[in-house]
């Protein structure tokens, strides 16, 4: 028996190696968990990089200037249906060119299609306005004035003849959509695009607080 005691060293080594390997990699899926953890670390490192970039952007934001930019955008496309402002714009444009407003017809929406699914479009402020007779250059002038106003106006239709000019205009409007801070998603790039749009809006004018009133009587106020 004593003669074979030397075999204990290699056998013990083998047993130790097997046991330690089993202990480290075999028990309860330790190796799989370890690999999973490594993947998690990599994912977290990617998130850290995104958040660091985002944090740098957030820290560089001038909240006051951003609010001013938002106000400028809101003056062009308001968050509420400013139908009275639109009517004032139409009256003002007519008055500047000496054309009286004969009638208004306003709608908070339009019928999209003649089917069961037809429904009022909530994102449109539509007004049909009829001006008294005038020269065509006056009509062109009215359109030019309307396109220079804030909130923005879209001229959808014009019917002009010697007796009258009828315009269908849409006032810009976009409701607030619920926007919440999302720490995981990167911020949209705003600076350059905002400056471009601000440049486009720079030539536009706010409606004067005092509207030039027509000197002629008989201006029909909107019937709705």
């Amino acid at each position: 028996m004593k003669k074979w005691i030397w075999v204990g060293f290699p056998l013990g080594t083998i047993a130790f190696v097997l046991y330690s390997l089993m202990f480290l990699f075999g028990g309860e899926g330790r190796a799989a968990k370890f690999m999973e953890d490594q993947k998690k670390v990599k994912d977290e490192q990617v998130k850290i990089a995104v958040l660091k970039d985002k944090m740098a952007v957030l820290e560089s934001i001038d909240a006051k200037k951003t609010e001013e930019d938002l106000t400028a955008m809101l003056s062009a496309v308001p968050a509420s249906k400013e139908i009275w402002t639109l009517i004032r714009q139409l009256k003002q444009a007519g008055a500047v060119l000496g054309m009286n407003v004969l009638s208004f017809e306003g709608m908070a929406g339009v019928i999209g299609e003649a089917s069961e699914s037809a429904q009022a479009d909530p994102n449109v402020v539509k007004v049909t306005v009829e001006y008294s007779s005038g020269d065509f250059s006056q009509v062109a002038g009215i359109l030019g004035i309307l396109e220079k106003y804030k909130p923005l106006v879209k001229i959808v239709k014009v019917d002009y003849d010697k007796s009258k000019a009828e315009l269908v205009v849409n006032g810009a409007y976009a409701n607030w959509v619920k926007i919440a801070a999302d720490p995981d998603s990167p911020l949209p790039p705003i600076s350059q695009e905002t400056e471009t749009v601000k440049g486009q809006l720079a030539d536009l004018e706010e409606l004067p607080t005092e509207v030039i009133e027509s000197t002629e009587s008989g201006v029909a106020v909107n019937p709705f």
């Binding site: 030397w6 060293f9 290699p10 080594t13 130790f16 190696v17 330690s20 370890f34 953890d37 490594q38 670390v41 977290e44 490192q45 998130k47 958040l51 660091k52 985002k54 944090m55 957030l58 934001i61 909240a63 951003t66 938002l70 955008m73 809101l74 062009a76 496309v77 065509f136 009509v139 062109a140 359109l143 030019g144 309307l146 396109e147 923005l152 106006v153 879209k154 001229i155 959808v156 239709k157 014009v158 019917d159 002009y160 003849d161 810009a172 976009a174 607030w176 959509v177 926007i179 919440a180 801070a181 999302d182 720490p183 911020l187 949209p188 705003i190 695009e193 749009v197 486009q200 809006l201």
Partner: protein, 170 residues
């Protein structure tokens, strides 16, 4: 040269066994040392990875807190971006009616009627004292529109009048 082994047979077996023992011990020792070195590296890496994982998780949590602290700015930027898109979309889709109207005005003829629809066909009625002015008027319009078509042309003995359909603003 022939080697003569003078040892007894049992002693010879013992010598061979000693050689095997020595070899086995040597191989086992080398293997064990190599194994221990490798395992030390693996365990070291494991230990580092576990610590690093904690550190990364803490850093991530801290960054989330920092970003959450700036949620007002985050929301403001998203609101601005959304409103900018609304403005851009409206500006793109509103056409340029005044420009179209100004395009109708020229000295060749007087505009008597104008029917404009955003994104659709424009119809203009004009009148003039002579037919050549009407023709020149249409020619001028063909520089602004790819389709210029005479719908009607009339003469009442004194004035020429025409109705033109215009499409495909250049």
């Amino acid at each position: 040269m022939t080697e003569i082994n003078l040892l007894a047979k049992e002693d010879l077996t013992n010598v061979n066994l000693e050689k095997i023992k020595t070899k086995v011990r040597m191989i086992t020792t080398i293997f064990l040392v190599a194994y221990l070195v490798i395992m030390s590296g693996v365990l070291g890496w494991w230990w580092y990875s576990s610590n690093n994982q904690k550190k990364v998780s803490e850093e991530l949590r801290s960054l989330y807190w920092q970003v959450a602290g700036k949620s007002k700015e985050d929301t403001l930027v998203r609101k601005l971006d959304k409103r900018r898109q609304d403005v851009t979309g409206f500006l793109k889709g509103r056409g340029n009616a005044s420009d179209s109207a100004l395009g109708m005005i020229n000295s060749e003829a007087v505009v008597d009627g104008w029917n404009y629809t955003l994104g659709g066909l424009t119809v203009v009625s004009v009148k003039s004292a002579d037919q050549w002015s009407i023709s020149r008027y249409a020619e001028n319009l063909s520089q602004l529109y790819s389709q210029v078509r005479f719908d009607t042309i009339e003469y009442d003995g004194a004035t020429w009048s025409a109705e033109l359909s215009l499409g495909g603003k250049k």
